[in-house]
């Protein structure tokens, strides 16, 4: 991109600029110039910081055009000019009825996709009436016990038109089976369904810790479901390989990038081993990243992610279908960056974070509500969050051109650095025996905990300013925004509804289907169709998970993974 002679000239010019700048360096506006991940940033970036840029094929190899390998500038040639990213707001609370109401509200306000949040018992594979669920029903998402709940959640929503994402992992196959059963009942052909299942168990062991079974059977559950969807639900994104939770747990941007891609490659290897064809399943894989506050670091992260993924898919895994090389991703603004103090400031944080995801070429976006450090979003807060995306899309002009920061000396240098750091982590993970061994031995968990503690220390020493928390604080601040409360009656209502279903369903058939599931799981057959059959019979999520627990056992975190730092 830059001829050697040109770079020589710049070098000379740089040293004279540097000499002049020295006069100003005795004063500093900030104690340290570093990213939110702790990376020091240069005062200035020039062509000299872009390694290898004098090579003839530099541009083609490293940057190239959008929609062309290695996709640094985006997966699509015309990006948002052709298709705006999906405004996909994550929602779910209390009963299926209330969640259905919120979904309809979001769609009525211009949301273009749905994303379902489930409560803790559902995420952990318990029914609302099990003792483990006491006090948790409907609290941080919607409660789902049987197909009947899923029917209510999607009542009046055209599943042939609206794409639906579901944030669930250990019981992901069960929730998808229920969703497919709803579609069958509504008469929507399965090949018309579009949506995404999070279904990323590896990051649960690493970061969010909502696991049920040990890793090996958990991965089997995933490859079974992938095999079913390839044949029957071809437009469905079977896994959303997630860095979001890794980042929320305290990782740096580079760790989020590296650990997430390492997880992705682990699924790819498992699917190949299960006999699936990479060029059939890979186009259905998608990713999910955090959009944190360090604007340029985030943009570099997304650009690096696309390039690394394309290279590995093409060169290491030998995928031939170009669609297998594309890293498509959803993003969500950083919940962990929000403050309980002066919560309205969170609107500003979220807007800037969302802008970074858009500048980084996201396919779909969730913007957090200002009140999420206090409770689940109120309707008003959720609306402002959605409006934030609409303002970015239609008022700021960022959709006008593709990869507007491509070619920025800083962004390109940072993108290269991200890629290098990720590759170093891949080598380290491989040296330690691969992703599953690293999980078992607590490598990821300890790395993340260490980064989280480091960040906290920087905040407490005021090396880092968090507005409203350690600086610009307000004495006797009163929180005066409305806060959503989940009705205590919700748990009782949900249990009553579940008991009614249990009394009305054909319990003989339920037992037959559960026995079949147990048989298949024991024999190592494909579990998905058996789960689908259980779901159609209104077997509960807890019943199905109990069957699988009885066959596979439960995962318990190794004390090595609990090390604080």
């Amino acid at each position: 991109m830059f001829a050697g002679k040109f770079l020589e000239k710049i070098k000379v010019k740089f040293s004279s600029w540097d000499k002049n700048a020295e006069k100003y360096r005795s004063k500093k506006s900030l104690p340290r110039f570093f990213t939110i991940s702790g990376q020091d940033i240069n005062e200035l970036y020039t062509p000299l910081d872009i390694k290898g840029s004098s090579a003839d094929d530099y541009f083609e190899k490293q940057i190239n055009f959008p929609g062309e390998y290695p996709y640094t500038r985006g997966i699509h040639p015309t990006m948002y000019r052709t298709r705006m990213w999906t405004f996909r707001q994550f929602a779910g609370m209390a009963t299926p009825e209330e969640t259905n109401k919120r979904f309809k509200y979001i769609l009525a306000q211009g949301g273009t996709g749905l994303s379902t949040a489930f409560d803790m018992p559902t995420l952990m594979g318990y029914d609302s009436d099990q003792p483990q669920s006491l006090g948790e029903v409907g609290k941080c998402g919607v409660a789902v016990d049987t197909l009947a709940d899923m029917e209510i959640i999607f009542e009046g929503i055209d599943l042939g038109k609206v794409s639906v994402s579901m944030t669930i992992n250990s019981p992901a196959s069960i929730i998808l089976a229920m969703f497919l059963a709803v579609a069958e009942k509504k008469g929507v052909a399965l090949d018309k369904l579009r949506g995404t299942l999070q279904n990323d168990i590896l990051k649960e062991y690493i970061a969010q810790k909502e696991f049920i079974y040990p890793p090996k059977p958990s991965i089997k559950l995933i490859t079974d479901m992938m095999a079913y969807c390839l044949k029957n639900v071809p437009q469905w994104n079977t896994i959303s390989i997630s860095g979001y939770h890794i980042r929320e747990a305290g990782s740096t941007a580079a760790q989020e990038l590296a650990f997430t891609l390492a997880d992705g490659f682990c699924y790819i290897e498992a699917a190949i081993e299960a006999g699936l064809d990479i060029d059939e399943f890979a186009p259905r894989l998608s990713f999910f990243f955090n959009a944190h506050s360090d604007f340029f670091e985030e943009i570099a992260k997304y650009r690096a992610a696309r390039r690394i993924y394309a290279r590995h898919m093409k060169e290491k895994y030998k995928a031939k279908n170009q669609r297998s090389w594309l890293l498509r991703f959803h993003s969500q603004t950083a919940g962990c960056s929000l403050t309980a103090q002066q919560p309205e400031n969170n609107i500003v944080r979220t807007a800037i974070q969302a802008l970074s995801a858009v500048m980084g070429g996201t396919q779909s976006l969730h913007t957090n509500a200002m009140d999420e450090t206090l409770a689940l979003p109120s309707e008003r807060a959720a609306l402002i969050a959605l409006r934030t995306q609409q303002v970015i899309a239609y008022e700021t002009g960022v959709a006008n051109t593709v990869d507007p920061l491509g070619g920025s000396y800083f962004v390109e240098a940072l993108t290269d650095k991200m890629e290098k750091e990720a590759e170093e982590y891949f080598a380290e993970i491989e040296k330690r025996g691969g992703v599953l061994t690293c999980i078992e031995e607590g490598f990821f968990q300890t790395e993340i905990a260490r980064a989280a503690y480091q960040f906290q220390k920087e905040v407490e020493s005021k090396e880092r300013v968090i507005v409203g928390v350690n600086d610009y604080t307000m004495e006797n601040e009163k929180i005066d925004i409305p806060v959503l409360k989940i009705d205590k009656e919700c748990e009782r209502k949900q249990i009553a509804a579940l008991q009614k279903i249990k009394a009305e369903r054909n319990n003989g058939q339920v037992q037959v289907s559960l026995d079949k599931l147990k048989q298949v799981a024991t024999d190592g057959g494909n579990t998905f169709e058996a789960i689908l059959e259980c779901s159609r019979e209104y077997a509960t999520l807890g019943e199905m998970c109990d069957v699988l627990r009885s066959v596979w056992g439960e995962h318990v975190e190794n004390p090595a993974a609990m090390q604080v730092s």
């Binding site: 803790m120 018992p121 995420l123 952990m124 318990y126 483990q132 669920s133 006491l134 006090g135 948790e136 609290k139 941080c140 649960e204 969010q208 810790k209 909502e210 696991f211 929320e248 747990a249 305290g250 962990c336 929000l338 403050t339 309980a340 103090q341 450090t373 206090l374 409770a375 689940l376 905990a449 989280a452 503690y453 906290q456 905040v459 407490e460 968090i466 409203g468 928390v469 350690n470 929180i479 806060v483 409360k485 989940i486 975190e557 004390p559 609990m562 604080v564 730092s565």
Partner: protein, 136 residues
């Protein structure tokens, strides 16, 4: 020499978000306290039994799932049942102000909410453990 403050940390309920509890564990440890982190999905009974067994001054629990109004009272009840109300119970998480007031009324010694510096927890524990009179 002053006796070291001993603290048991745990995550009750189904919630797996353990960033906060690990940060607190590291900060208390670096402040010279003895910290025992018992991990995820601990029942009130497991927590209280471990606290008695380990002879701790305080129990700290972290709850981000919204189940705090069920879990804190259950731990308090368990402490009462085991005649261990001298053990200080504190906690942190996504806990709205109204609930915080109610929990502190019930007998939770202190609730820390998002943004609270670890220094505050250290100071609180030093003072509370210092004025504590353990039952024999």
């Amino acid at each position: 020499m002053e006796k070291k403050v001993r603290v048991l940390l745990a995550k009750p309920g189904l919630d797996g978000h353990d960033r906060g509890v690990k940060v607190i564990a590291a900060a208390l440890r670096d402040a010279g306290m003895e910290v025992i982190y018992t991990g995820l999905r601990q029942t009130p009974q497991m927590i209280v039994d471990a606290a008695i067994q380990e002879d701790v001054d305080a129990i700290g629990v972290s709850i981000l799932s919204g189940a705090h109004m069920t879990l804190f009272p259950a731990i308090l009840a368990e402490l009462k049942a085991k005649d261990a109300t001298d053990i200080i119970l504190f906690g942190g998480g996504i806990i709205p102000d109204d609930d915080k007031t109610e929990l502190e009324k019930m007998g939770v010694a202190k609730i820390f909410t998002p943004g609270a510096p670890t220094e505050e927890a250290i100071k609180f524990l030093r003072e509370a453990a210092g004025s504590r009179s353990p039952k024999e």
